[in-house]
Amino acid sequence: MNHMPLPRRRSLGEVHVAKVTLAHGGGGKAMKDLIDDVFVSAFDNGLLAPMEDQARIDLTVLAKHGDRLAFTTDSFVVDPLFFPGGDIGKLAVCGTVNDLAVGGAKPLYLSCAAIIEEGVELDLLRRIAKSMAKTARDAGVQFVTGDTKVVQKGACDKVFLTTTGIGVIRPEYALSSDRARPGDIVIVNGMLGDHGAAILGARGDMLLDSPIESDCAPLNGLIDALLAAAPGTRTIRDATRGGVATVLNEFADASQVAIEIDETKTPIRPEVKGFCEILGLDPLYLANEGKIVAIVPPDQAAAAIAAMQTHVFGEGSTVIGEVRAGEPGRVTMKTVFGGTRIVDMLVGEQLPRIC
């Protein structure tokens, strides 16, 4: 009697309808097909393939990269899902990769939880998953576990994603927001406010045609270059919601120092400036998805800038200010006009749902 050979890999299910229905969240074959068709086929890797309820990660593999685990999570509800320079999938990878990398960690593994509204087109989901997979490859990370829920119409807006990531921190890195000292230099890696302006433009509410693209990018490579050149770097944060102004306030508060930035040195695209002028927004508070603020000791600042500028996401790296001994927690800006103003935390939201 002939035996069928056991397949080494199980065959992946496929969805043959155009739109997601509640059946795709029911836990049965339809759900398995959805997960296979959209996510497993895109993320395909050895850790995901066994499809257990959890990914199993060898501790010895982790330990090769350092001595501390970094662990973070972030949810993504951006509207619209696709915008110039990115989409929710790319954002979901970059956001979590960057949150790991700014702590000095090498990002390694991600999970993805998707909450999908019934009626969403399968092709839309496939495009998002492909974008996630591509960005993950670019960033050198793998999706190793995930979850999918389908909710009825109106219970969420098309697709919400949550990504959780783990990375490993090398023993010599001790980045911390309370380590800024007077004299330290404040560095950013390029033009500020692009993401916030791009999303606002993409919504179309303003009827403004804008060529601005989101800066959404995985920054782990750039941060590697920065830390290699300036190992004494005090702290790094990605300037997402709340923009650079918020990050600087967090640093000033945690380190109990004053920070002064110089408006003439703060890199903002003319298009973004124009956008902000028309709408009465302050670009310092606009979200970025591919920008970091780093505080570097003065003797390593030049090396840090030089190293960052060689990286594709750091070509525009520049000094925007310095840490001062003044009033603890106070961030000020020398204006283009020669005056000084306080740059405080934003009270409410400048814009809703930007990430």
Partner: protein, 376 residues
């Protein structure tokens, strides 16, 4: 950025500041007390803080931040009316963003939204009209707010709604006019002002002639000013020059935008749709005669006050709140009893803490660094 950077030139600012300092020192009264100049418009207040102008000026000059922020002078009762309409299930309530956080006696529009009211932020009254066309089974109400700057846009929206035969659109008119307000400030007994920076955008609509009473009757100089920092500095210099030479005139620094006679098509649309109210209640300033606009009877179908029979209950300002004294320049924001303690941008008691054009929020947010430090 062309046509913007030219007005933010730090070198020109330095020489202007130098000139201002010389001029201020040559005015005898400045030896006894600072020369008090009120910027009427919230847009100027914002520029002054945004560019740190206060800290650059010599101590002989004191800027008094006037009532020209329409969000800030809105009394609580009107906000309560908004909330009551917004909570009706058939209503989509549309508003400019900064009006959402203004506190009424029963919360703000933002809180009403959280409670389930359909409150939406729009950038133009025409967006609200578009929403009405898209949602024929709902009643779309626009929260019309602002001085003469925004009045033409809401007037034109009403005319458009009429022309299109739209029946599910109305506006809650809270428009106010600047001239009676300046007059009320000048009539206030506890006030000492030496001159004014006149509002730029309002004047773009109404021109400069309506201010003539300031110079002829009250003998105060006024310079209609632009909003870029060099505009503001040049206008301060012009006010000082008038004081030094003993003149009281209405001058136009913002001539690149403001025509002497205003914008006649805009004014025609405004008078077609609106008429003056007998009086209007201002937060902090009380009732001011002929300072508010209402929709004319001809367009009554677009008047939300009539359509929804608003309660229109007068609510007194909170007792601890000294917005009125700040508005009139009697005290500085930080001298208010609740500034920065009970009243902050997160939990504003007074409306001056709400909008970025409000003097208190501007101090809190941007801080006139030197003066703030000197005071604390």
């Amino acid at each position: 950025m062309k046509y913007v950077d030219e007005f933010r030139d730090a070198e020109k600012a330095k020489s202007l500041i130098h000139e201002i300092r010389l001029l201020a020192k040559s005015i005898p009264i400045a030896k006894e007390r600072p020369i008090a100049i009120m910027e009427v418009c919230g847009g100027h207040t914002h520029s002054i803080f945004r560019y740190g102008l206060e800290g650059m000026l010599p101590k002989e000059i004191e800027l008094v931040h006037g009532p020209g922020c329409p969000v800030c002078v809105l009394p609580m009762g009107r906000v309560d009316d908004c909330v009551s309409v917004a909570k009706r299930p058939e209503v989509i309530f549309t508003t400019f963003g900064d009006a959402m956080r203004v506190p009424g006696s029963k919360g703000s529009l933002l809180q009403a939204k959280a409670d389930g009211a359909d409150v939406r932020m729009v950038y133009s009254p025409m967006d609200a009209l578009a929403l009405a066309k898209k949602n024929p089974d709902r009643e779309v109400v626009f929260f019309a707010i602002g001085f003469e700057t925004t009045v033409p846009s809401t007037a034109l929206t009403v005319l458009q709604a009429k022309a299109d035969g739209i029946r599910n659109f109305s506006l809650f008119c809270n428009h106010i006019t600047i001239v009676p307000t300046i007059k009320a400030i000048l009539d206030s007994p506890d006030l000492q002002l030496d001159g004014f920076l006149g509002p730029g955008h309002v004047s773009m609509v109404i021109g400069t002639r309506p201010y003539e009473f300031v110079s002829t009757y009250y003998k105060r100089p006024m310079v209609v000013a632009g909003f870029e920092p060099l505009d503001v500095l040049q206008s301060i210099w012009m006010v000082l020059k008038q004081i030094q030479e003993g003149r009281a005139e209405i001058e136009n620094q913002y001539a690149r935008i403001v025509p002497e006679d205003g914008n006649s098509p805009a004014l025609a649309a405004v008078s077609e749709v609106y008429e003056l109210r007998e009086f209007f209640e201002w937060r902090g300033l009380g009732s001011i005669d002929h300072s508010g606009l209402k929709v004319r009877e001809k367009y009554a179908e677009f008047d939300a006050e009539l359509k929804f029979k608003m309660p229109n209950i007068k609510i007194a300002d909170p007792k601890s709140c000294q917005c009125g004294e700040v508005l009139k320049g009697v005290i500085k924001p930080w001298q208010c009893k609740v500034f920065g303690s009970a009243c902050t941008p997160e939990t504003p008691l007074g409306a001056l803490m709400v909008s970025s054009e409000g003097a208190c929020a501007a101090y809190y947010q941007y801080g006139g660094v030197k003066k703030y430090e000197a005071a604390s």
